[in-house]
């Protein structure tokens, strides 16, 4: 269980996150939605250690993890993806995945000289695993491609793929869906559910595609102006007046009448 306690993050006079508190239950797929600039990504950044909060605490399984650095959180099983894809541009797509698992023997300089055989074996296994993930994401043909040269949506897939390389406890997904083809997004949704069911991953998902949120997430937390506006099951949220006004809107006004 992750408890976010009254987190605040101020940029100068601007309060990007302004006292947000909520809980993410273990084993859940929690949705996090809210208008642009609500502070969702900032909150992610605070929880995942990329930003130090101005105040507040983050507690994971009873342990205070506020202010730990991202790599420490990674080792505690907390992973995240980025809204704007952060690929390792000069490396191949497969390498992008293979680098993820931590504690590889070959990451210690000394072992690279002394334990070469073991490393080779490990690498082989890793490569296989990476290929499986790529297969799953439908981009196995890109395995050898330089990561800087793949399309915007493919980069987002790669982001997701990285979290599948290790056994994570909690995964924070920041708009995996933006720019991803809807058919593929459905597949990704299935994958998330599967990972959740079979491997017990806890997910926290930011997404603007309400179909996706509705299909996957329970509960859904709505943020606005740095605070939690509402939370609850997806269908409740979708009917919430305040949420509709701030975030969902009432659909296309002009499309029906004017165009044809």
């Amino acid at each position: 269980m992750i408890v976010v306690e009254d987190i605040r993050k101020h940029f100068g006079a601007f309060h990007a996150v302004d006292g947000a508190s909520f809980k993410i239950a273990t084993g859940s797929i929690t949705g996090l939605i809210g208008p642009n600039g609500a502070g969702k990504t900032t909150l992610f950044n605070v929880v995942a250690g990329h930003l130090k909060p101005t105040s507040g605490r983050v507690i994971m399984d009873g342990e205070d993890i506020t202010g730990l650095s991202p790599h420490e959180l990674f080792h505690k099983g907390l992973l995240r993806t980025f809204q704007l894809a952060h690929e390792f541009g000069s490396m191949s797509v497969r390498e992008n995945l293979m680098m993820v698992p931590s504690g590889q023997i070959g990451e210690s300089l000394w072992s690279t000289w002394t334990r070469r055989r073991e490393i080779a074996a490990n690498e082989h296994a890793l490569a296989e695993k990476a290929d499986k993930v790529l297969d799953f994401l439908t981009i196995s043909h890109l395995a050898q491609e330089k990561a800087s040269d793949i399309s915007g949506g493919q980069k987002k897939l790669l982001e997701l793929g990285r979290t599948m390389m290790v056994d994570a406890k909690v995964v924070f997904l920041d708009e995996v869906g933006a720019g991803v083809n809807r058919t593929l997004l459905n597949t990704i949704g299935d994958a998330i559910v599967r990972l959740n069911k079979t491997r017990g991953y806890t997910f926290c998902v930011i997404e603007h595609d309400m179909d996706f949120i509705a299909r996957l997430c329970d509960p859904v937390i709505v943020m606005a102006e740095g605070k939690v506006l509402a939370q609850g099951p997806a269908d409740h949220i979708m009917d919430n007046e305040a949420v509709i006004e701030a975030y969902l809107g009432t659909g296309l006004k002009n499309a029906k009448g004017a165009r044809q």
Binding site: K40, N181, D209, G249, N254, A255
Partner: protein, 236 residues
């Protein structure tokens, strides 16, 4: 329907030795909204770049208002009346929101205030943040800045590469509404969209691109109605 405004004919090209576009053709007339959909990596962005001269074609041509512009540079195409919002890196991160918008009018330079207030009424949040650095905005806000900047050019043709990626539903609806309005004023719109259902709803013409070639071409409504297309490309 009037004579086509923009025609990309049998475009073939790619990066380095790889070929991404395989004889892809795109055309739209004045005041039309055309949408390109397709799986990731299909070459949609590449097609847009090709139309805008950011990628040299190996064969095929691009015509704008009947003139061959295949060999013009991007900034010359801007002068012709084309505007483009790329999929990524589409704002000036170190400049203020206001300056970002001003840069859109770099070629035009007059009537700044008027267009700007139009854009502010379209995206109110930008007015609030007008003097903030665009790099400090949230993902969706950036997207709004990017579209705003392109609108500032007052183009004849506005090309948008996934303008709604990452914007909240309410803003997305606003954006589509606005796009319709823009189209009504005579500006043609060509966009790539993954939020395909909304996009196709307002599209006069739609292309489904697969592996750099046209797979389906029809009106938006027609494609929306095609179960095959829905299943394979629109997520059911």
């Amino acid at each position: 329907m009037t004579a086509p405004l923009l025609v990309g004919d049998q475009m073939t090209g790619g990066y380095g030795h790889t070929t991404i576009l395989n004889g892809c053709s795109i055309a739209l007339a004045q005041g039309e909204i055309a949408v390109i959909v397709g799986p990731n990596g299909a070459g949609k962005s590449t097609a847009m770049k090709a139309l805008f001269g950011m990628l040299t074609l190996r064969s095929g041509s691009v015509h704008f208002e009947g003139e061959d512009i295949t060999s013009l540079s991007p900034e010359e195409r801007v002068s012709c009346g084309m505007a483009f919002v790329p999929q990524t890196q589409n704002i000036f991160t170190t400049m203020s929101v206001e300056e970002n918008l001003e840069m859109g009018a770099y070629r035009r330079r007059e009537g700044l205030g008027e267009t700007m207030s139009q854009i502010f009424s379209l995206f109110p949040v930008l007015k609030e943040k007008r003097s903030q650095k665009a790099g400090e905005l949230s993902g969706g806000q950036r997207q709004q800045v990017a579209v705003g900047r392109a609108l500032m050019t007052r183009p004849k043709l506005l090309m948008l590469d996934e303008p709604t990626a990452g914007v909240s539903p309410i803003v997305m609806d606003e954006l589509f509404d606005r796009i319709i309005e823009v189209a009504r004023s005579g500006i043609s719109i060509l966009m790539v969209e993954q939020n395909a259902r909304q996009a196709l709803m307002i599209a006069d013409k739609a292309y489904v691109l697969v592996q750099g070639a046209n797979r389906y071409t029809d009106t938006g409504q027609a494609l929306l109605a095609d179960p095959e297309v829905r299943k394979t490309f629109l997520g059911g």
